[in-house]
Symmetry: C2
Subunit: 334 residues, 2 copies
């Protein structure tokens, strides 16, 4: 009897889950420059991706989010809202604990409560790197893996750690700040965060350009046609020249790969993940064969031979898709 009731309850819950699953949710990605929003069903974007410039100040950001939600609700039934935001987020309360310089005034905003009260929809708020990592892991069908470490190589370096399909958020919601792993010990390079020798100061897009400048300022124009461009060179130009046989440009690209590997090595020895997924705007410049060769050379063999390094799949949509998946999973869990 009790068992029968349990089975019925379970069936009911399952039906509920299915119904909720069949209703699309909104995924919102709040960055320092733009606010992106799309409708998601089964981890796929099923609408256009609407983008507006991020307004200044918490009140105006909330207004912009509410307007995006209302616009989508005019023509669609929405089951919930997942928000990926820069900054440190208390995921239980949905409050912004720590803001980045990109979103002044955002700290302290109880974003989940506000949006839930205004829309009557379930809302999940998550740090943007974590949301992206969650999206990448689930879309790649890696949610049963013991550990997936998603590393985002962009202007900076971000990361998210997913353990058996769940985000590892640390003791103070700040885990995965992998851009600030220390990769040198002699105050060689200042990071934008104010600390010295962070991984981000070497392995990010900014790091690539800093390395290019260091190297190009030491060579003559006979050695490289980029020599006179130390201050203005772009990543694309260095990559192009490296591919055309410019050995100085090749040295810059090689050094950048070594810098990227430095952080991966520390993460691998700490976390022993199943795999790294590499995402972000700089990831398209990664030579995975070279990266793997350098990684194996710098990692204990019993770890190096097991840990895969793979390109992530979702590109700039990872935050939206991950945030949407997080609110769906929160709905199912409740």
């Amino acid at each position: 009897m009790a068992q029968g009731t349990g089975a019925a309850n379970s069936q009911q819950a399952q039906q509920g889950t299915d119904i909720k699953h069949k209703m699309p949710v909104l995924g919102i990605d709040l960055g320092g420059t733009k606010l992106s929003c799309a409708m998601i069903l089964d981890n796929k974007i099923v609408s256009d991706v609407r983008k507006v410039p991020t307004p200044k100040g918490a009140g105006k950001i909330i207004d912009a989010i509410l307007k995006l939600i209302a616009d989508f609700q005019k023509d669609n039934l929405i089951g919930g809202v997942g928000i990926a935001t820069a900054g440190i987020v208390n995921v239980e309360t949905g409050e912004i604990l720590g803001s980045t310089g990109n979103l002044p005034g955002w700290e302290g905003t109880p974003i989940k409560t506000i949006i839930e009260q205004q829309t009557m929809l379930p809302v999940h708020v998550e740090n943007d790197a974590n949301a992206a990592a969650y999206g990448e892991t689930h879309v790649a069908n890696l949610s049963k893996k013991a550990c997936v470490c998603v590393v985002t190589l962009g202007t900076g370096i971000g990361g998210g750690i997913v353990v058996f399909g769940k985000l590892y958020r640390g003791a103070h919601w700040a885990a995965g700040e992998v851009g600030h792993i220390k990769v040198a010990m002699d105050n060689r390079r200042l990071c934008t965060c104010g600390l010295f020798d962070c991984w981000e100061a070497f392995g990010s897009g900014k790091g690539f350009l800093a390395t290019a400048k260091e190297i190009l300022s030491q060579v003559s124009k006979e050695q490289s046609e980029l020599a006179q461009l130390a201050d203005t060179v772009t990543v694309e130009l260095v990559i192009e020249n490296a591919q055309s046989g410019d050995v100085v440009a090749q040295r810059i690209v090689q050094t950048w790969h070594e810098h990227v590997v430095s952080g991966l090595v520390s993460l691998a020895h700490t976390l022993d993940p199943d795999c790294f997924l590499v995402s972000g705007g700089m990831s398209k410049f990664v030579n995975y064969d070279l990266l793997r060769e350098l990684f194996v050379d710098r990692t204990l063999p019993r770890i190096a031979e097991k840990v895969e390094i793979l390109p992530a799949q979702l590109g700039t949509d990872a935050g939206i898709i991950g945030a949407a998946r997080l609110v769906v999973d929160a709905i199912i869990a409740n």
Copy 2:
């Protein structure tokens, strides 16, 4: 009715648990040089700690373990055996996956199965750094914390990561190899593992002495009375001289603290732990005020202000106590 049955089952389980809890277990710590064994009840050693030199070869090690168990069983009722061993351990099968140079021939040994079959006792086998981390965390009443990171500063550097009271073991049982976090990028120092610039090559006892040698070989005997002892100086002698006002010795001690902090910074940004527990033979030389000051100076403020750095409590008994606790918890779970 169903509820009543559930409560009765729960009570029965609880009684079973209590009975097992009241029976002591053996904790065994298998290191490269010695094999230690003691009887443990409620996280406390309740017998003498018996030590024998570690024999050479897997067969002789097993014989020695079985003899220790049999000796204790002569006068005591033993509920299980927890074994902490060097090397990588598949905790589910209790097999040694990867051995260290200290225990040749140990790799591939199905230690859990062998000891269980010979003794008919429940056995849990765990990597020694993990077992120590587990013991330290539970004895310090930190098992409800989101993350405790135990760092062992000894001849080398080891570590264990405990998440909500459970060991985080990674995807291939190799997590927490924190000694091989990279703390420099220019092949400055070779680690005993064969890689360059591992944390262990700087922050361990060996690292301390390497730093002392580097610094002392550059100074005259007028600058430091240790100048002529670059190759023979001990950690204790450097510490003593630093305390007596030798500024060169003070520089060595300061540099070692900076090196220890390098790895802690990377771990803090990756894991965002509640706290670090610092253990191992070198931990008695740590100046926690200096360590904290250097840590705060090199860590993002929102993480630095939250993460505590504390001395561990169990000393060389951590492995024995942790292994014993692990087998008790495995018995309760089954």
